[in-house]
């Protein structure tokens, strides 16, 4: 199943590359209005067509990739940065009040769907890319905490951990030096999946106006603009949609591929 890893990796790399290139070059200025050329279908000069202001859709998608990737990446970072230590801590103190408190806290956050968190945050601080990051990030914390704790719990039963305890290492040192390296693979795979969910969430939030605000381009807002024009200029809705689908598909395939690649036990089980 190395095919998944290659296809997924290539698709993901394509969009990361597009985002990076957009810092130095785009086919057109993504903010340049060109009213005479508005709503043009894809053709040689504008490969993905133009929008209702005559802006080049390819350039907007390239710059929009920056927003999507940045929001999703930082949100996963928040989730990992807080979730992993919490999960390690809960596992190290299994059954204690700390464990109970962390896990109940997780359940509580899980009861707020990420969109509801976003609505709450927007109600307080207003809409914007940073608030979208916080909303998606908060939702990621229990995901990583739970997965880290689950994997760490079974590791704590192993002999090499017992050996480390006999050697006098503290629970904190064992967690960092022995548990963490052994759950890294799992976390990388989950990180890829959360990254793709983050891109979907960012698109949804900016579609309803809770994400990045103009003039920052984002795929979700491009779709919101396209909505009223979908009957006369379907390409305005199709192109950003394809960008989202291909990126998310690529990341998911890469996650699947990585899981198979990093976990030799699965490779044996498959055959």
């Amino acid at each position: 199943m190395k095919r998944n890893l290659i296809i997924g990796g290539a698709l993901s790399a394509l969009f990361v590359l597009a985002a990076l290139i957009s810092f130095v070059w785009t086919p057109y200025d993504h903010t340049a209005l060109d009213i005479p050329n508005k709503l043009k279908v894809p053709h040689a000069e504008h490969l993905l067509g133009t929008d209702h202001f005559g802006r080049d859709i390819l350039s907007m998608i390239m710059v929009g990739a920056r927003t999507s990737i940045a929001v999703a990446l930082v949100a996963v970072g928040i989730g990992m940065g807080l979730g992993i230590p919490l999960g390690l801590w809960a596992a190290a103190r299994q059954g204690s009040w700390v464990d109970e408190l962390i896990m109940r806290g997780n359940d509580l956050v899980f009861a707020f769907p990420s969109l509801v968190i976003a609505i709450l945050i927007t109600a307080i601080f207003g809409a914007g890319a940073v608030n979208a990051i916080i909303a998606i990030g908060i939702f990621n914390i229990p995901v990583f905490a739970r997965i880290t704790r689950g994997a760490a719990l079974s590791l704590w039963q192993r002999e090499f951990i017992l050996a480390a305890r006999v050697a006098g290492k503290s629970a904190t040192r064992i967690s960092v030096e022995h548990i963490l390296p052994n759950v890294t693979n799992l976390l990388i795979v989950q990180g890829t999946i959360q990254f793709s969910l983050g891109i979907l969430a960012e698109a949804g939030l900016s579609y309803v106006g809770l994400g990045a605000q103009p003039p920052t381009p984002s795929w979700g807002r491009m779709l919101a603009d396209a909505q009223t024009l979908v009957s006369i200029a379907p390409h305005m809705a199709l192109m950003p949609g394809f960008a989202i689908i291909l990126t998310v598909l690529g990341l998911n395939l890469m996650g699947d591929g990585l899981r198979d690649y990093l976990d030799p036990r699965l490779r044996v089980a498959r055959t």
Partner: protein, 315 residues
């Protein structure tokens, strides 16, 4: 079972209490006083004070919290700042759009996912399995609001089978209402169905490797009989959990889908209330959403324990 139920019930009540505290105080620290927002910049201090008293904003926060929670327990969700109508009336009207939509989508998603997952599992590794799994990969990657726009483009604008948006209301009859909710429900259901089909498949594959499945075959059942009589029933347990979890995604997802179809549901109510700083409405709707998620998960846990006695002792 009684002890387990009681334990879970206590944890349910604690979760709801903590959630209500979080929601209330998070929204209360929001900058922007509703009274001054309603009266505008040039309001006289006396008028402002009078309105604040009328809205009940002049009492300490803690008392307002108790009044809010106490009111909700007795079915009084307060009065909207902007519309001056009871929140419960505004919410219950919208609920009759959002809740049927979420349930409709849940039914569609289950109806799609079960056959797809069972088919894929029974043809593991063959072309049919690979085809279904490829389709689910795509289904997971499609944003539901974009899919909704495509449905509108094809089935409403080009084929004219459905209206492009709006809701006729249930007084036009059950089928007219369902007809109006069909495209939104499909849009909501597709990504969830893709996830559910994958869970169904992997859960079934796990069960198919069990010893009792070999025994079933050994006593003379065909692969198909063993699958339907023994495999499916055991594979359903994890699938039920996911269905419970998906309910919360569907409710949240309907907030976005309502925007695509201009449906007068809870989602639109929340967005209107945020821009009008009608905080009491936002608080109540968010609390209602969280309440339904926590309650559904509680019910799923109970159903789970009723089906699988091993789980009762673990709690």
């Amino acid at each position: 079972m009684l002890r387990y139920t009681l334990k879970r019930l206590i944890s349910l009540i604690i979760s709801l209490a903590v959630a209500s505290v979080v929601i209330f105080f998070v929204i209360e620290v929001a900058p922007g006083d509703p009274a001054s927002f309603m009266l505008g910049m040039n309001a006289q201090p006396e008028t402002l004070a009078a309105l604040r008293a009328e809205l009940g904003l002049d009492v300490p926060k803690f008392q307002r919290y108790l009044a809010w929670v106490g009111g909700m327990l007795t079915g009084d969700f307060g009065t909207s700042y902007t519309y001056r109508t009871p929140v419960i009336e505004m919410v219950s009207g919208r609920l009759w759009v959002s809740l049927p939509l979420a349930l409709y989508a849940l039914a569609l998603s289950t109806a799609l996912a079960f056959p797809a997952g069972i088919y894929a599992a029974s043809r593991r590794g063959q072309a049919g399995d690979i085809g279904v799994m490829g389709a689910t990969q795509l289904g997971v990657a499609v944003p539901n609001f974009w899919f909704a726009m495509m449905l509108v483009l094809i089935f409403a604008i080009n084929l004219r089978w459905f209206a492009a948006g709006g809701f006729v209301g249930w007084d036009k009859g059950f089928w007219a209402g369902m007809h109006a909710l069909t495209l939104p429900a499909i849009a909501l259901a597709l990504p969830q169905a893709a996830i559910l089909a994958r869970v169904m498949r992997s859960s079934l594959l796990d069960v198919l490797g069990e010893d009792f499945m070999r025994t079933a075959r050994a006593k003379g059942l065909t692969a198909r009989q063993a699958l339907w009589r023994h495999g499916l029933r055991n594979a359903l347990i994890p699938v039920l959990t996911i269905i419970g979890l998906q309910f919360s995604f569907l409710l949240a997802g309907s907030i976005i889908i309502e925007q695509v179809f201009y449906l007068p549901g809870l989602g639109r109510l929340v967005f209107q209330s945020i821009s009008a700083r009608d905080l009491i409405v936002v608080e109540s709707v968010v609390m209602l959403l969280v309440f339904s998620v926590i309650t559904v998960n509680f019910l799923v846990d109970l159903a789970y324990a009723a089906v699988d006695p091993r789980l009762r002792s673990r709690a």
